[in-house]
């Protein structure tokens, strides 16, 4: 099977306090530690497990981002992916979700695939829209919130997380799955994997390679506009009721006052 995994590089959520540039209203990505999105690691783990069961599979990781997004790809290669594709072009800066999806879909068409893995949402942008858009652009089914899966005779059977529990679904390949967060425990890149990663191939693509024009993606192509960003209002401190024997009555009065009871 030809397995593709879309992986994004994000500012390290464990060490970086996310900041928004007030002028561009974009996340500050310069001068911070960027890592392979922990959510993408979960999707990659699911893909690697599928490849291990299948035996005769390759796992290609695809990232769109600045040049140094190659570090995120190297980490994915160290975890066990076979090779990588990096979509990078100054003209892609400022892409919105649709622009990102167009660039990913164009690359994926070049690469060929049986199944595409994404995470449900990225840790930074968090729109959760890219997977569905990529599937739409490729004209293939999109299974969202997938927590487990297997493929037999070209048909995927998987469990989706739904409001009431788990839904078992079936779908023939080719398709795209968005993996539910926390559903797989990503492996550590083993030392041998890290050493091997530097010898693995990462192919670079730019807008021209993909046959995309400036207006298709990037800042100029972005039709979504972020108008305003506001910090979440800090909550007011709660009321502390000290129990002098009338505590229960005081709480009941408060609840009644707010119309809870």
């Amino acid at each position: 099977m030809r397995i593709l995994v879309c992986v994004k590089q994000v500012p390290d959520p464990n060490t970086v306090e996310y900041q928004i540039d007030p002028d561009t209203k974009r996340l500050v990505r310069d001068g911070v530690t960027n890592v392979l999105d922990p959510g993408a690691e979960v999707a990659l783990e699911a893909a690697l497990q599928l490849a291990e069961v299948d035996g005769d599979s390759t796992v290609t990781v695809v990232a769109m981002g600045p040049e140094d997004a190659e570090d995120a790809l190297r980490r994915a290669l160290a975890m066990g992916a076979t090779d990588g594709a990096l979509i990078t072009d100054d003209g892609l800066a400022g892409s919105d979700a649709l622009g990102t999806a167009k660039a990913l879909a164009a690359t994926i068409k070049e690469l060929g695939f049986d199944i595409i893995f994404c995470a449900t949402e990225s840790t930074d942008g968090y729109t959760g829209m890219v997977p569905g858009m990529v599937a739409e652009l490729l004209g293939i089914p999109h299974l969202s919130f997938v927590r487990s899966l297997e493929v037999r005779d070209g048909v995927l059977t998987g469990q989706r997380v739904v409001a009431l529990g788990y839904q078992t679904v079936q779908c023939p390949l080719p398709l795209l799955v968005a993996i539910a967060s926390g559903s797989h425990e990503p492996r550590y890149p083993a030392l041998k994997g890290i050493m091997a990663a530097k010898r693995k191939k990462v192919e670079e693509y730019n807008l021209a390679d993909l046959g995309l024009a400036a207006g298709d993606a990037g800042e100029s192509g972005a039709r979504e506009r972020v108008l305003e960003l506001r910090a979440v209002e800090e909550r007011q401190a709660g009321t502390i009721v000290e129990d002098d024997g009338t505590g229960a009555a005081q709480i009941a009065a408060l609840l009644r006052q707010r119309g809870v009871i």
Binding site: R75, A78, P189, L191, K192, I194, M195, A197, K198
Partner: protein, 385 residues
């Protein structure tokens, strides 16, 4: 990684990736549990499979023997991160890599390498290294263990003391003198009749590591057991150079652990209306610790650069082991002081590291022995013998 002098900038992307992966592993799988292991005087045997899967055993040996083939600085960083968790759990990997796999790699036959190294790298076999005897570990040339020729094989007799991993090992690399009085090395499967390894109980240091004796009573091994290229005391000493190199990095990991704990504690602990971190006496201790860590890390990094360029001398290794372990031990003692009464419970990592480092200061050549190795080097006059 604690890195006041930006040593990180000297690292390659790969060295960083290796450090980060080991760091994540230590944070997730060692630090949350080590206190329990240490308190119970228990070696967590299951960890061998985890080390094997990650490639931590003999990581600097070549890929063709199932190892990761990392460079010396990456190897040092692995030791650093493991010892940030616990000196005993770093020792576990050091013994397997530097004292068991290295001699098989350096002094073994091709057949021995192919047979043992991949198994040891994967953690399917565990080894130990038997050099020290009960009297005078500093003077291994005075060893009493003997290897007598017997047909095409050998008969081993003797007793080794303070042997890391011996009670749980599958194979032991044992050093003994042959009929001509030359030190030879043997790979002895621990189920060989005449081999036993009683455990040493009640250690107050390296409690998460398993230490034992090795008793050899007419222990007969075949011709395939001897390491053909190991002749004379310089062979086991060559292994020690490898291990000491790793320790000079490892001790700094322990220093990071105690420093970070003490700094965090000092900034939140308040007396007389102010955090103790705001007192000159406390700042003096913290600054000394951080300075020692920075100097030690720069020394270790340069030592690694020299090692890969095949320019490292044993006196340089002695200096780094001697210095870095002692500053870590002193730092742990200072951290213990900063934590006051809390410093003496294993609820905080400080006293565990402090007690562990007492062993690290002694094994692989005591602090004073290394003083005399460097002293001889710079004066030309030996004080040791």
């Amino acid at each position: 990684m604690l890195d006041f002098y930006a040593v990180d900038r000297l690292l390659t992307a790969e060295q960083r990736a290796i450090r980060d992966t080991v760091r994540e592993f230590v944070d997730a799988e060692i630090i949350p549990q080590v206190r329990g292991w240490w308190d119970r005087h228990e070696f967590p045997a299951a960890i061998k499979g985890r080390y094997g899967a990650l490639g931590l055993f003999g990581a600097n040996l070549p890929e063709e023997y199932g190892c990761a083939g990392v460079d010396s600085i990456a190897y040092g960083l692995i030791n650093y991160e493991l010892e940030r968790g616990d000196s005993g759990l770093r020792s576990f990997a050091s013994v397997q890599g530097a004292l068991v796999m290295y001699p098989i790699y350096a002094y073994g036959s091709e057949e021995q390498r192919r047979r043992y190294l991949p198994e040891l790298a994967a953690g399917r076999l565990i080894g130990c290294f038997g050099l020290t005897e009960s009297d005078g570990g500093s003077d291994p040339g005075a060893m009493r263990a003997r290897a007598r020729r017997d047909g095409d094989g050998w008969v081993l007799n003797g007793a080794k003391m303070w042997i890391t991993n011996s009670p749980l090992a599958d194979i032991a690399v044992v050093w003994a003198k042959d009929d001509e009085g030359i030190v030879r090395g043997f790979i002895v499967p621990t189920d060989t009749p005449g081999f036993s390894a009683p455990i040493i109980e009640s250690k107050m240091s390296l409690r998460a590591s398993c230490t034992g004796e090795i008793v050899l009573q007419d222990c007969r091994v075949g011709p395939e057991a001897i390491l053909p290229e190991a002749k004379g005391l310089k062979s086991p000493l060559g292994c020690l150079t490898q291990a000491r190199y790793g320790i000079s990095w490892g001790a700094l990991g322990a220093l990071e652990a105690v420093y970070s704990c003490a700094r965090d504690y000092a900034t939140t602990r308040t007396t007389f209306g102010k955090p103790i971190a705001g007192r000159q006496l406390v700042q003096d201790k913290l600054v000394r610790m951080l300075t020692d860590h920075s100097l030690g890390l720069l020394m270790a990094h340069q030592l690694g650069t020299l090692k890969d360029a095949k320019k490292m001398t044993f006196a340089q290794v002695s200096m780094a082991k001697r210095n870095n372990v002692r500053v870590a031990l002193n730092g742990a003692r200072a951290a213990r002081e900063i934590l006051g009464g809390n410093g003496i419970t294993t609820e905080y990592p400080v006293i565990r590291h402090m007690l562990n480092l007492e062993t690290v200061d002694t094994y692989e050549g005591t602090h004073d022995i290394h003083t005399m190795i460097v002293g001889r080097e710079i004066t030309g006059v030996g004080a040791l013998e």
